[in-house]
């Protein structure tokens, strides 16, 4: 008995608990309104799974992938505002390399001007380097992450536009289409990519000591340095990872629309990713982080959007709904409220024991 009540108290203190509760509640509401919400079927023509839940996870891929990196940036006590702009850069670059060229071909079709590997690799390398640029400004230049990444956030879309001369290219190249619209067996490709990224990131931070180093640098950079951790290197690696993951998200996004859209690609992604991380229980002040929490957070955000789409609420009102639900989660997660609940369950436990 004693043990169980103790667990209850520590559960109410945990931020992830509240995130899970929120997600379950939203899903329950969905279920009540539309009982077939949970059904998952296999589309007969293609053999791919479909259904609301699959759609939620599928559509959350970009944010989930970016949020994995964002979690580390926030655990370091920083943020990365440039991710949305990097999504645009990645897409623009891929399309620039594959684009249908009027001089060579008569109609757009199933071909890529430059080799396909280039169209995949170059955007990723570019985004990684841009992430590294952020990291260098923060680690070596001693800038605040908010400002340092604001620079690329402001100019990133400009760079994307200039890459494509301000034009919007389209492609019909099939291998590229697989990234965002294809499938592996019955599972949509974005989910596969997202799962791979999440698992690799999880292994990377928890099966090596990198996660501990990130937490340590996030709590106290100077003490970490004096303990022999290369704080600067940790920071630069984290921002490079965030850049790289933004690049992946950019490829998925542009493959979904088979085009580059430097104005709208990845817009507000930085905000969504940061929200996902915070809802997932990682504090903006840095330190302890949870990738699982982040994943839940990102799925919550997408669930809200899907919820709004499915139930005929004006699409543009999504943001207001998002805000309301997020506000509730944030308030439940805030220190005073958690303390209040924890104290109450402590008291109840004491009463039971006494």
């Amino acid at each position: 008995m004693k043990k169980r009540s103790f667990n209850l108290a520590s559960l109410t203190r945990s931020k992830i608990t509240w995130a899970v509760v929120a997600e379950v509640l939203i899903l329950l509401v969905c279920f009540v309104i539309r009982p077939d919400f949970f059904s998952i079927k296999i589309q007969e023509s293609t053999g791919v799974l479909y259904g609301s839940l699959i759609d939620i996870v599928n559509r959350s891929a970009e944010i989930s992938i970016i949020a994995m990196g964002m979690t580390l940036a926030i655990a370091l006590g920083g943020t990365d505002l440039s991710v949305g702009a990097l999504v645009a850069v990645s897409g623009a670059m891929a399309l620039k390399l594959m684009r249908w060229d009027v001089l060579e071909y008569v109609t757009p079709g199933n071909y890529s001007v430059k080799p396909f590997w280039m169209a995949i690799l170059f955007p990723l390398i570019t985004c990684t380097l841009m992430g590294l640029f952020n990291g260098v400004l923060i680690a070596k230049g001693g800038m605040q992450p908010f400002i340092a990444t604001l620079i690329l956030m402001v100019s990133g879309r400009g760079i994307a536009q200039i890459l494509t001369d301000g034009k919007q290219f389209t492609t019909m190249y099939a291998p590229f289409k697989v990234i965002g619209q294809g499938n592996l067996g019955p599972i949509p490709m974005p989910i596969v990519i997202m799962a791979v990224v999440c698992i690799l990131m999880g292994l990377f931070v928890r099966k090596t000591a990198f996660g501990t180093f990130v937490e340590s640098v996030g709590v106290n950079r100077s003490a970490s340095r004096l303990s022999g951790i290369s704080s600067d290197a940790v920071i630069m690696i984290v921002y490079s990872i965030t850049g790289f993951l933004s690049g992946i998200a950019g490829l998925i996004y542009s493959s979904r629309i088979m085009s580059n859209d430097s104005n709208n690609a990845g817009i507000n992604y930085e905000m969504d990713a940061i929200l996902a991380v915070v809802i997932g229980g990682t504090a903006m002040t840095g330190g302890r982080f949870s990738l699982v929490g982040t994943l839940i957070g990102s799925i919550i955000i997408r669930t809200i959007v899907t919820f709004v789409y499915y139930f005929g609420i004006v699409a543009e009102a999504t943001m207001a709904f998002k805000a309301l639900i997020i506000a509730v989660v944030i308030i439940l997660q805030s220190e005073p409220v958690r303390e209040y609940f924890a104290r109450r369950s402590d008291k109840r436990a004491m009463v039971k024991r006494g």
């Binding site: 800038m143 604001l150 690329l152 760079i159 915070v278 504090a283 207001a320």
Partner: protein, 351 residues
């Protein structure tokens, strides 16, 4: 008394106080860009006062008005991402009220003020009492406000109203003695419009608040060290809530200025405006860590920020996207100057 006077620094070294260097840097770079523009594009009119006032001031006054409130929020060490959305909501409320409900625009404006100030105060209270990071809280506020904008209308609503037209068209022409010795409008024509007037008034109000009142000094104290401010017995909670509420007020006023400029309300107006406003304040020397910032700096920050797109427009060969890149480069430059100033004053202190 004589001793006291002696140990104070000379006037020159007080003016050259490192804490003002960022402001000087802003002014200096602005002048350089302006002179550069004047030399290269002098014929096209960059040089003329009219271009300066109209392009840089009047067309961007709403950013400036909003930057006044943002500067205060940044000085407390906080941030407010909701400003662009609140300005946009103001436009929606006025447009919807005037066009669809036939209400008096001032009534709509009053309602918008109530909403903006209320939301600001609410966010301030949550930030203080619930310890929610300002970034997250105001981001939520932004989503909420944008969502409400879209609920009101998904399309742009035009405004046709005498009062709005009158205010939008209101101008004070700047006059001087012409060659014939007559008191007349200077040429090329140059005037102050209502938005610019609002901006100038807000800068003055902001300066007085920050420099001359206890409230203003408390803002600096909170930004310097919030824990200390609390232990010194300063009203931290009240100050923070008022600052966010005042920023809400500024956002609404900025939204009103924007309405005067475009004479319509649109749910997606000023998207990303919050970052433009923050950029203005940062270029003006306000530190994101809090505790440092001046209204004069913000004033020139707005000028500088808007000088760049103007310059690029004048150079017809460049894509307008270069403006974004240039703004990013400018930010980078400024932060480097800030770092150098900090390092320099640290070294001086050690000596």
């Amino acid at each position: 008394m004589e001793r006291t006077a002696r140990k104070r620094q000379s006037l020159l070294s007080r003016i050259m106080n490192p804490k003002y260097i960022m402001v000087y840097a802003t002014i200096g770079i602005f002048l350089i860009i302006y002179i550069f523009g004047a030399i290269n594009y002098g014929d096209s009119g960059f040089l003329t006062l009219r271009t300066l006032v109209i392009s840089m001031f009047t067309e961007n006054a709403y950013y400036g008005i909003s930057a006044v409130g943002m500067t205060m929020v940044l000085i407390t060490g906080g941030i407010d991402l909701s400003v662009g959305a609140v300005s946009s909501l103001t436009g929606m409320l006025i447009a919807y009220g005037v066009t669809n409900m036939n209400l008096h625009p001032l009534l709509c404006l009053a309602f918008a003020f109530a909403v903006g100030i209320g939301l600001g105060a609410l966010m301030g209270a949550a930030i203080h009492y619930l310890n929610v990071p300002p970034f997250i809280m105001t981001l939520t506020g932004m989503f909420l406000t944008r969502g409400i904008c879209s609920l009101i209308s998904r399309e742009s609503i035009e405004i046709h109203n005498d009062l709005i037209d009158a205010l939008a068209g209101w101008k004070i022409y700047i006059k001087w003695w012409n060659e014939d010795g007559e008191w007349a409008k200077i040429k090329p024509i140059c005037y102050i419009n209502f938005n610019l007037l609002l901006f100038i008034i807000m800068i003055i109000v902001g300066t007085i608040l920050l420099q001359k009142t206890r409230f203003g000094r408390n803002i600096y104290a909170i930004g310097g060290n919030e824990q200390s401010a609390k232990l010194m017995g300063l009203p931290v909670a009240r100050t923070k809530i008022i600052v966010y509420a005042f920023n809400g007020f500024c956002s609404v006023l900025a939204g009103f200025a924007y309405v005067l400029y475009v004479k319509s309300g649109w749910n997606l107006a000023l998207q990303g405006g919050e970052l433009e406003v923050i950029t203005c304040a940062v270029i003006g020397g306000t530190l994101m860590t809090g505790g440092v910032g001046y209204m004069v700096g913000t004033l020139f920050g707005v000028l500088l920020k808007t000088a760049i797109p103007t310059l690029i427009t004048f150079n017809g060969n460049l894509l307008s996207w270069w403006g974004k890149i240039a703004t990013g480069a400018l930010l980078l430059l400024f932060i480097f100057i800030q770092r150098i100033v900090v390092l320099y004053s640290d070294r001086k202190k050690q000596e």
